[in-house]
């Protein structure tokens, strides 16, 4: 009896929390004609015409460009963050360097409203001609990803036994060699987790994409909103839904496949940070 109630609560919660996603998915398969008479949760004559429209490149809208931009900036922002965080995490976790200065500063960074850096970064990018470039946005996403990557990697390195390092040091290895040949391979699960989580975070970022790009480097989160003003008339909701489905799909698929690792890393910063 109580179990039936649990299932009911689960169903209601899952339905309510996923409601916008469900509505968008359903609407993306409705023709404009059907949508005008049936805004409900059922499709009577499913069609792919909205997706065909979304994937048609026009002068103003180019979804392939937005997707390619998102892939590029998320990849750069993730790889660079892990590349910078791994050696620093080793220095913090093993060398106890900056445990009371660098680490808390970067962890706090995760909680700071990043808009406070946005305006000077905008001006700086203007001087460096980095506005509306993939490189520029990727560099900023690196900052966004750094705190969690560092926390995950420091925790992973602290969990490794120190004897590993000592044995390698006895054999005459340098710290850099120990990092690349001993520590990094052993930390592979933590590295993979930070990469996945970083990619999802970077893909979903909106504020800096909005501020720092205008046309060439626009990511999909910003590009999706362009489709809302696509035609002279009102919003074409079927088309807008299709573009949102396309934009949400990569992180959602990644998240569903890797949700165990992700649930661990989401809580890493919370429980141990």
């Amino acid at each position: 009896m109580i179990n039936a109630l649990r299932w009911l609560v689960f169903a209601v919660a899952a339905f309510a929390m996923n409601f916008p996603i469900l509505v968008t998915l359903v609407t993306s398969f409705k023709s404009a004609r059907e949508l005008s008479t049936n805004p409900g949760l059922w499709v009577y004559a499913p069609t792919l015409e909205n997706y065909a429209t979304v994937f048609t490149v026009s002068d103003r809208l180019n979804i392939f460009l937005y997707l390619a931009n998102s892939v590029a900036v998320a990849a750069l922002g993730t790889l660079l963050a892990v590349a910078l965080a791994l050696p620093a995490a080793y220095a913090i976790g093993r060398g106890r360097l900056g445990e009371r200065t660098l680490l808390p500063f970067i962890v706090n960074l995760r909680a700071v409203p990043l808009i406070i850096f946005a305006i000077p970064l905008y001006m700086m990018f203007q001087w460096l001609a980095l506005l509306d470039t993939r490189l520029g946005l990727g560099l900023i996403l690196t900052i966004v990803n750094l705190p969690l990557a560092l926390v995950i990697l420091v925790n992973a390195i602290r969990d490794l036994p120190g004897e590993l390092d000592e044995a390698a040091l006895m054999d005459g290895a340098t710290r850099f060699q120990i990092l690349t040949r001993v520590i990094a391979p052993l930390c592979r699960p933590a590295i993979v987790t930070s990469l996945i989580f970083g990619f999802i975070t970077a893909w979903n970022e909106f504020l800096f994409g909005l501020m720092l790009t205008t046309s060439k480097a626009v990511p999909i989160t910003v590009g999706a909103s362009f489709f809302f003003a696509a035609s002279g008339g009102g919003v074409q909701w079927g088309v807008a839904s299709a573009v949102m489905v396309v934009g949400a799909l990569p992180p959602v698929l990644l998240g569903l496949i890797m949700y165990r690792q992700i649930s661990g890393s989401m809580t890493a910063g919370a429980v141990k940070g």
Binding site: F10, L121, N204, S225
Partner: protein, 295 residues
């Protein structure tokens, strides 16, 4: 051992941390300095490279701007309300649903799904969900009750945004609490069962106190994220009628991009910068003293 000290391990470690430190100095240190200089300067888009120091007039402009206080009040209320709602809902779901999730972990994947979608996209999705002609919510309200509701109107927009934020981020609290609940050592729970403790007593006197640190952390994280909210609010209502749904992030964004008031935007950034770091370091300090006391 002499070889070890000759190699000076600390300098090697310093070298390994250098790229990260340099990166932070360039991309955060430099902007922080620019922020500070511009906040006390008379500056416009034409005089970007030659800011004239003009004292604290920018800070005075922010301080006397009622929109700034309105935005601060919005951010505080929004952060506090969503944090409490998300944690209360998440705590209930985590404990009540844990017997189901323990056996089928894919249920958690379904509940976590909203966390994977960009908040900006979720905000855009609600424009559809709540749209008076194309949206299913007004449609069903009309069909079932013969009346609908202006969800993004002046009086209701705030509460609509609260619901939007809460529904997307409750899974985060749920996930955190579920893991904390699973981490409670089973001996403790079994021992209390031997004592014949009732379900409610067990929950109130044993399980919740053990989860208290996680609850505090979750409240804090969700408050911070709610306080600095931008994406979903920006795409749904913008600053709203009369600035009624402008968070501090939106206030700064609009001061800079819409009004071109660089000095004001930068001064507000500096205020927010100092306030956030002061609060965060204060919290760290309290947390580390707590840990010390326990040891």
């Amino acid at each position: 051992m002499t070889t070890l000290s000759q190699r000076s391990p600390s300098s090697e470690f310093r070298l390994l941390a250098t790229p990260l430190v340099l990166f932070l100095l360039v991309f955060l240190g430099f902007p922080a300095i620019v922020n500070l200089i511009y906040s006390i300067s008379d500056v416009s888009f034409e005089t970007l490279r030659q800011p004239r120091i003009s004292g604290l007039s920018n800070f005075a402009a922010v301080w006397n701007d009622s929109a700034f206080w309105q935005a601060s009040w919005f951010s505080l209320r929004f952060g506090a309300l969503t944090a409490v709602l998300e944690c209360a809902l998440g705590l209930f779901l985590a404990i009540f649903l844990s017997p189901l999730i323990e056996k089928r972990s894919w249920l958690m994947a379904i509940l976590m799904l909203p966390l994977m979608v960009a908040p900006a996209l979720v905000g855009l999705m609600y424009r559809l969900v709540l749209h008076e002609f194309a949206g299913p919510v007004p449609y069903y309200l009309w069909t079932w009750f013969g009346a609908s509701f202006s969800f993004l109107g002046p009086t209701s927009a705030f509460w609509t945004l609260i619901v939007v934020e809460t529904l997307q981020w409750t899974p985060f609290a749920l996930l955190l609490f579920y893991m904390a609940y699973q981490a409670i050592p089973s001996e403790i729970v079994e021992a209390s069962a031997m004592d014949g403790a009732k379900r409610w007593h067990k929950l109130w006197y044993i399980e919740l106190p053990l989860m208290a640190p996680t609850i505090v952390v979750a409240l804090l994280i969700r408050f911070i994220d709610g306080f600095r909210v931008f994406d979903n609010v920006y795409v749904l209502t913008g600053s709203g009628p009369g600035g009624s749904t402008a968070s501090l992030s939106i206030y700064i964004y609009e001061a800079f991009f819409k009004q071109g008031a660089i000095g004001k935007a930068v001064a507000a950034s500096v205020i927010l910068f100092v306030a956030s770091f002061a609060v965060l370091y204060g919290l760290n300090h309290i947390a580390s003293r707590r840990k010390g006391a326990v040891k």
